[in-house]
Symmetry: C2
Subunit: 757 residues, 2 copies
C-alpha cells in the first residue's frame, strides 16, 4: 500500500458534488450574520448607533464591541502550552472599538436572511477619532502615538536573535563581504472556500461547524474568547475547500459562537465574502531582510548575518513564529562557522499576517537564495557550484533542534536531477552573454524544511480504529483532510499495517471534537509524519487484538497467525476470515467484545525535508514579461506514501511559488492600509493560462525517522519557485531584483535602472 | 448521584425546540420519496405501469418490486446471531409483487418535492389478481391457498411448547378446574414522531439518518436487505420522538437506503404519514389465550395450561418471540408443580405485529391476571389473597433462565403498598353487593419482567469516555436516548463513579455507527441494566487512568489519590485540579497522552422486576362507561437511578395501560384487512381529558445483580393497567370481560348478556 498511487478516497464525492462542506450542512432555518468593519485604518470608535439597524424588519440582533466578553484571546493554530511563557499572544477581543487596521471588526448583525443583514449593516452609524496610519514595519517599530497595542510602546511584538561563533571575526577573515536587502510582499492564501461557519447551541453547549484545519484548537480558542470551559464547546469540521494556513488560525469562529449565545442558541451562519477574506482573515507576512555574508577565496561561507523585519499587521496571530522560523532556516542549510540572526516582528496598521504554506520559509528562502546567487555572481562562481560547496553534507545537526538525529539528506541528489532536467551546465553557458529584447536564463534555488514542530512545540496525535462486522475497519482521527489527501494517505497506512485492501478502510472524514481523537490538526507538514506515526501504532495495536482474538477462536492452532487481505492466515493456510472473526466478536454468545484500538501519543521527533527548483525563463525586456519555459521541483521528502498525490501536492505548491514570484501581492493604500486589489479579479493569482507545464520529481530516500520513511511534503513545494525564477531572470538579464513578485512594472523599472531600456 | 432526581440533560433543548430530530437534519436540497401501497389485502400484482408517473415533471425516479435486490431480510431489532438456527426469519423484500396485506409496499417514487411525489403515486397503474383475505389466526393456522409465505404451508410461523411436571395428573388431583379464553386487540405505539429517515451516499457508502431505537441493528439489516457489506452502511440516530418498540424494528430504512442508490447518492427523505404508521409499520400482536388451571381445596395452583395463538400479520418481524415471552411469563410468577405452555404464531393478512412496550407481557398479563380473578371468584377467595398464596416467594429460579440468581423480589411489598393506597380490604367489602346503574369496584393485577434478553439472546454494550481539557468528561454510547431519559441516567452513573458534577458530563446523544461504540440499542428494558454495567466499568477504567496519570504528576505523593468534584485529592488535601491534570495530559511537552477509556463488554446476567396495579373504577352500566377513580402502579425495579424520571416512566406506561384497557384497538375490515380507524382522530388514544390522577410508587430493594442495584423499568409500567381495570369492573358489576379494550360497545353487550341492562 505504501508507495502506491491509489485514487483519493474522496475523489468521486468531490468530483460529483456529493462531498459535504460547511454550507451543505447549514440547517434550513439558519440565521445569517454579517460583520460591520471599520472604515478607517487607525483610531477609536467615538460613538456607534445601531438603533436603525435594530429597527429593520428581519433583524434579530445587533451586537457591538461593547457587548462582547472582555477576554483577550490568541488566534494561532498552535497547541496550547501549559507554560505561560510559551502561550500565544492574546491581543484581541471578539469585536473592538479600538480600530487597528482598515476593516477591523466593530459590530455584527444577525438577521433572518442575508439581504436583511447586509441592509442592516448600512444602517449602523459610527463616529471615529482617527490616528495616523503606518503600514511599514521599519517605521512602525520605532513606535506610534498611541501605540497599536497599549502594552507595546514601540509596536515591536517580539524580537529574537542568536549567535553562533563570531560573525564580526568571520567577516574580518573573509575575502569578500557582500550585503544585500530583500523584501517579500503580502500575499493571500486564496483557498476556494472562504471561511464559513455555522454555530448553534445544544444542551447548554456551543456547537460550531466550521471550515478549519484545526478543530480542536478552534474549540480551545472559542473557550478562551468567551471565557467558558473548553468542554462546553464542540467543533465539527467537514470537508473544506482549502486552507493553506489561513484556516490554521481561529478566524470568526469565536464571533459566531458568541452570536448564537445572543439569539437563544439558534443556528447562525457566518459566511464571509472574498473581499473580507483578503482584508480580514490572514496573509503571508511581508518580511524585509538585510543580509551580510563573508566568503573566503575558495567560496566558502565564513560568516553570515541576517536581520529580518516582519510586518505583523494589526494583531499578533502566529506573530513572531514566522520570522523566527526563517531565522532557524538561516542556520540549517549552509554550513558556516559564524552565524548571526536577528528578527523583529512589528505591529502595523495592515491586515494581519498569519500562517501560510511554508510558514516564513518562502520569504526567507527568497532572501537567502537570491543572496546565494548574488554572492556567487560577486565572486564569479557558478551559483549551483557555490551552493554545493557550502551545503551541509550528511544529516542536519542543529544545536537548537537536538531531536533531529541522523535523518537522510537528499539535497545533492535533488540538485543533480534538477540540473539534468533543466540542462544547467549547457544553458548557463549558452545564455551567458545575450543581447536583444528577448533573453533567456536558468536559475535555481533550494530549501530545507522541518517536519512538524517538535521540539519547539508539542506534537501529539490520536487515532481510533474499529473492526466492523464485515471485517472492514473504521478509522477515526483528529487530523484533518484539507484537500491535501490526508484521508487517502492515512487509509493507505492503515491498510499497509493491517495488510488489507484500502476499500476495506472506512475513514471518518469529519472531525468532531466530541468524538474524534485529539490531534492539533493540519499544519507544519506534520500529519503524515506525526499522525502517521500514531496511525501506524494504532493499526499495530488493532492487529494484535485481532490476532489475540483469533487465537481464542482457534485454540488448537499453534502456527503463527497473520492478517492477509481479509483472512487470518495460519502459516500458509487461511484459518478464519476476518469477517467471520468480526461477527464472532460482535455476536458470540460465549465471548463477544467489539475489537477497537485507540492511541493518543506524543511524537518526540523531527526530520528535515529538502528540495530545489530549477527554472528556465524567457524575458521580454520591453514588455516586462517573463515566460517560464521549463520548471521543475525536485523533493527529498523521504518515501512517498502515494506518488500521484505527492506529485499533485508539488504541482499545487509550484503554482503558488510561481504566483509568489511573478504576480501575487496584496497592495495596500498608503494612507489607510486598505487593500486596493482584494478581489480575485484584481489580485493576480496564477491561472491555467499563466501556468507552464510543471514538472515534479523526487528523491526517495528511506528516512529512518518517519513512520514509513516519509518526511514533510505539504508545504515545501510552495517554497523554492520564486527565487528560482528571480535567479533565472538575473541570469537572463543580469539584473538582480530583490523584491518579489516580478511584475511587469517592477521589471521595467529595474531594466530602466539597469540601462536595458 | 444515584437516586437523585436531577433534571433531564435534554430537558431545556426539548422544551425550547433546540433539540434536533431527523427532520431538522434533512439538507435543503433533499429529494422526497413516497411509497405506493397495495389496494388489496391478498394477491399478486399482475401488471404495473409507472410510465405516467415517470413522465411527471419533478419525478426523479420510480422503482417497483421488480427493481429491488432479491435479498430476503429480517426486520426485528435483535442482535444478530452467528448460529443460523437463532437468526430471525427473513421473509420480506424491500418491495413486493406478492401482496400479503392491505397496504403492502409495491413501488416508490422519488421526486423533487412532496407534492410531486404524491401526485406521481396517483399516476401509477396496477392490476392485481386477488386471493381471499384471512385476518383471524385461528382460521389462518390451518392454511390458505396459496399460503401467505410459500415455505409455510399452514401459515404457522412458529409453534413452541414446554412441559413442567404433568399437567393432566395435576388437573386430576385438583378440587376445581377452570377454563377460560381471553383475547387482546391489535394496538399501535402512537409515538409522536412518525418513522422518518434521510439517506444519501458518501465515498461509496450509504448513510441513513433515521428515527430509530437501534442504529447498529438498522445498519446490519440494510446490509442484508441490499446485499452489501455491513461496513458500507452508516446509520445516524438523532433525538427521536418516541419509539415504544415500533422503532425497534427496521422499518423503511432499507427502502430509503436503496432509493438513494437509485438517484446517484442524492439525499432522499422518506417521511411516512400517521395513516401509514398505523397500517405499514408494526403493531402489538393480538393474542388469543385458552387457559386451564386446577386448584386444590386451599386455593393452591396444582396445574396450569396455556395455549396462545398470536396473530403475526403478513410478515414475521419479531414474530414468535412475543408469544414465547408470554409463555415464559406463565412460569415465572405463580408457583405451580405442573405447567404446560404452547404457543402458535400465525401469519394472517393483517398489518404486522412487532415489538411494543412489554413485548408480549401486556397480552399475557391481561390473560393471566383476568384468569387469576376468575379462578378466585370461582373458588370464592379474595383475588389478592389467592395471588399471594400462589406467588413465588424469594427469588425467581427458572430452569430455562439459569443466570438469574438470587435476585430480589419485592412483589409482596408492592402489593402491600398498592392495597393500602386503594383501601383494598374496605372497598372489596364495601362494593361487594351493589345494585343500580352506577357501581364501583376495585381490581388489581401484577406482573414480572425480565431485565434485558440474556440468556435467551446476546447482551453486549459499549462505552467510551474522554477527559476534556477542562476536566469535564465526554461520554459516548451506542445505547439510545428515545425519550425515556437514558442520556440523563447514563450521565448520572458516570458522575457517580467519577464523583463529579453531572454538569461536567457531556453525553453524545447522537448515535452514529461509524463513531459511537457498539450497543444493540433501546429495547427489553435493558439499557440502564446492560449498558449501565458497561458505563460503570468504563468510568472505573477512566478513573484508574486519571489517578495513574496523577501519580506521575505527583511523584512525591504517597497518600491514596481519589477524585472529588474536579479535584484529585490526596488524603484530605486537594493535590491537583482535574482541569489542570487534563491540560497536562493534552499539552505537556514531557508526557502528554489524552486520557480516554473504552469498554465493549458482554453482560451475562439478568434480574426480574415486578410490580402491580391497583385501580378503583366507577361504571355507568347504561352508558357503558368506566371512570377510573384511583389508580396506582407500584414497581419493584430495584434502586431507582433517578426517582423523578422513574415516576415519569411509570406515568407514561400507566397511560398506555389504561388505553389498552379502555379504548385502544386497531379495527380491521374483515374483507380486506384494511385498518378502519388508523388515524389519531379515530384511534382512541388516552388524552389529558380521559386521564385520572395517576399514582406511581416504588419498592426500592437494592438488587445485587444490576450495576447500581437497578432492574428493568422501561416497559413494566405499561403492563398491569388493563387487567387491573378489567378486574375492577368485574368487582363492580360481576361481569367478567375476557377481551380488552372495555369500550362502551363491549361493556353494553356484556351487560345485556349478563342481564344488567
Amino acid at each position: 500500500m505504501i508507495g502506491k498511487s491509489v485514487p483519493r478516497v474522496d475523489a468521486y464525492d468531490k468530483v460529483t458534488g456529493r462531498a459535504k462542506f460547511t454550507d451543505d450542512l447549514v440547517p434550513a432555518n439558519c440565521l445569517v450574520a454579517k460583520i460591520y468593519h471599520a472604515k478607517i485604518g487607525n483610531g477609536i470608535v467615538k460613538s456607534i448607533d445601531t438603533s436603525k439597524a435594530e429597527a429593520l424588519d428581519g433583524v434579530v440582533k445587533v451586537v457591538t464591541f461593547k457587548d462582547v466578553p472582555n477576554h483577550c484571546y490568541p488566534t494561532p493554530g498552535h497547541p496550547w502550552s501549559v507554560e505561560l511563557a510559551h502561550q500565544d499572544v492574546a491581543d484581541r477581543n471578539i469585536l473592538t472599538g479600538r480600530v487597528r487596521y482598515y476593516g477591523d471588526d466593530i459590530a455584527a448583525v444577525v438577521a433572518e436572511d442575508e439581504i436583511t443583514a447586509q441592509r442592516a449593516l448600512r444602517l449602523i452609524e459610527v463616529e471615529y477619532e482617527e490616528y495616523p496610519v503606518e503600514i511599514h514595519p521599519r517605521k512602525s517599530m520605532y513606535g506610534s502615538k498611541p501605540p497599536i497595542h497599549l502594552d507595546k510602546k514601540d509596536n515591536v511584538l517580539v524580537r529574537s536573535n542568536y549567535f553562533i561563533g563570531n560573525v564580526e571575526e568571520g567577516l574580518k577573515e573573509s575575502e569578500t563581504v557582500i550585503k544585500r536587502s530583500y523584501k517579500t510582499p503580502i500575499v493571500q492564501h486564496c483557498h476556494i472556500e472562504n471561511p464559513i461557519s455555522c454555530a448553534y447551541m445544544e444542551n447548554g453547549r456551543i456547537i460550531v461547524v466550521t471550515s478549519t484545519q484545526i478543530p480542536h484548537i478552534v474549540r480551545r480558542v472559542i473557550g478562551q474568547a468567551l471565557g467558558i470551559p473548553w468542554g462546553k464547546i464542540r467543533v465539527i469540521k467537514p470537508y473544506i475547500g482549502g486552507g493553506f494556513g489561513n484556516k490554521q488560525d481561529v478566524l470568526y469562529e469565536p464571533l459566531n459562537a458568541f452570536l448564537t449565545t445572543q439569539v437563544g442558541g439558534r443556528p447562525v451562519k457566518l459566511d464571509i465574502t472574498r473581499e473580507e477574506t483578503f482584508c480580514n482573515t490572514r496573509t503571508r507576512h511581508s518580511i524585509e531582510y538585510d543580509l551580510t555574508a563573508g566568503v573566503d577565496s575558495e567560496g566558502h561561507l565564513l560568516a553570515k548575518d541576517m536581520l529580518a523585519i516582519s510586518n505583523q499587521g494589526a494583531y499578533a496571530s502566529h506573530g513572531h513564529a514566522i520570522a523566527a522560523n526563517g531565522l532557524t532556516a538561516w542556520r540549517l542549510q549552509y554550513a558556516c562557522p559564524n552565524i548571526k540572526g536577528e528578527a523583529y516582528t512589528v505591529y502595523t496598521n495592515t491586515p494581519v499576517g498569519g500562517a501560510m504554506r511554508g510558514y516564513g520559509i518562502p520569504q526567507v528562502c527568497f532572501a537567502i537564495e537570491c543572496f546565494m546567487d548574488d554572492i556567487a555572481k560577486e565572486i564569479g562562481m557558478d551559483p549551483l557550484e557555490f551552493r554545493k560547496k557550502n551545503l551541509i553534507r550528511g544529516y542536519y545537526e542543529d544545536a537548537y533542534l537536538k531531536p533531529i538525529a541522523a535523518n537522510t539528506n537528499g539535497i545533492f541528489e535533488c540538485l543533480e536531477k534538477g540540473a539534468e532536467y533543466i540542462h544547467w551546465e549547457e544553458k548557463r553557458k549558452e545564455y551567458a552573454n545575450q543581447t536583444g529584447n528577448i533573453r533567456r536564463g536558468v536559475g535555481m534555488s533550494l530549501f530545507s524544511y522541518k517536519t512538524g514542530v517538535w521540539p519547539i512545540s508539542l506534537e501529539i496525535a490520536g487515532a481510533r480504529m474499529t473492526l466492523n462486522q464485515d471485517g472492514s475497519v473504521g478509522l477515526m482521527l483528529g487530523a484533518t483532510e484539507i484537500g491535501q489527501g490526508a484521508d487517502t494517505v492515512f487509509s493507505q497506512m492503515t491498510a499497509e499495517v493491517l495488510n488489507m485492501d484500502i476499500s476495506d478502510i472506512h475513514i471518518q472524514t469529519v472531525q468532531d471534537t466530541d468524538v474524534t481523537p485529539f490531534d492539533t490538526g493540519a499544519y507544519a507538514s506534520r500529519q503524515s509524519f506525526v499522525t502517521g506515526t500514531v496511525v501506524k501504532d494504532c493499526a499495530n495495536l488493532l492487529k494484535e487484538k485481532i490476532l489475540a482474538y483469533a487465537k481464542e477462536l482457534l485454540p488448537e492452532e499453534t502456527r503463527k497467525l497473520r492478517l492477509d487481505h481479509g483472512w487470518i492466515m495460519a502459516g500458509k493456510d487461511p484459518a478464519i476470515s476476518l469477517g467471520n472473526l468480526a461477527l464472532e466478536s460482535y455476536y458470540s454468545l460465549g465471548n463477544s467484545s467489539v475489537i477497537t484500538a485507540e492511541v493518543s501519543e506524543q511524537v518526540k521527533k523531527n526530520t528535515i525535508a529538502t528540495g530545489c527548483c530549477f527554472a528556465e525563463v524567457e524575458v521580454d525586456i520591453k514588455l516586462g514579461k517573463i515566460k517560464i519555459l521549463h520548471i521543475i521541483n525536485v523533493h527529498d521528502s523521504g518515501k512517498l506514501i502515494n506518488p500521484k498525490l505527492a506529485e499533485m501536492q508539488v504541482q499545487g505548491g509550484m503554482s503558488m511559488g510561481m504566483g509568489y514570484g511573478l504576480s501575487e501581492q496584496l497592495i495596500l493604500d498608503e494612507k489607510t492600509g486598505r487593500p486596493l486589489n482584494g478581489t480575485l479579479l484584481d489580485y493576480k493569482l496564477m491561472t491555467m493560462i499563466d501556468t507552464p507545464d510543471i514538472k515534479a520529481d523526487f528523491v526517495e530516500l528511506d528516512d529512518p525517522i518517519g513512520p514509513f520513511g516519509n518526511k514533510a511534503l505539504g508545504e515545501p513545494p510552495a517554497i523554492p519557485g520564486a527565487p528560482a525564477i528571480r535567479n533565472a531572470v538575473f541570469h537572463a538579464t543580469g539584473v538582480a531584483f530583490n523584491e518579489n513578485p516580478l511584475t511587469p512594472q517592477r521589471l521595467i523599472d529595474g531594466f530602466i535602472r539597469a540601462g536595458l531600456i
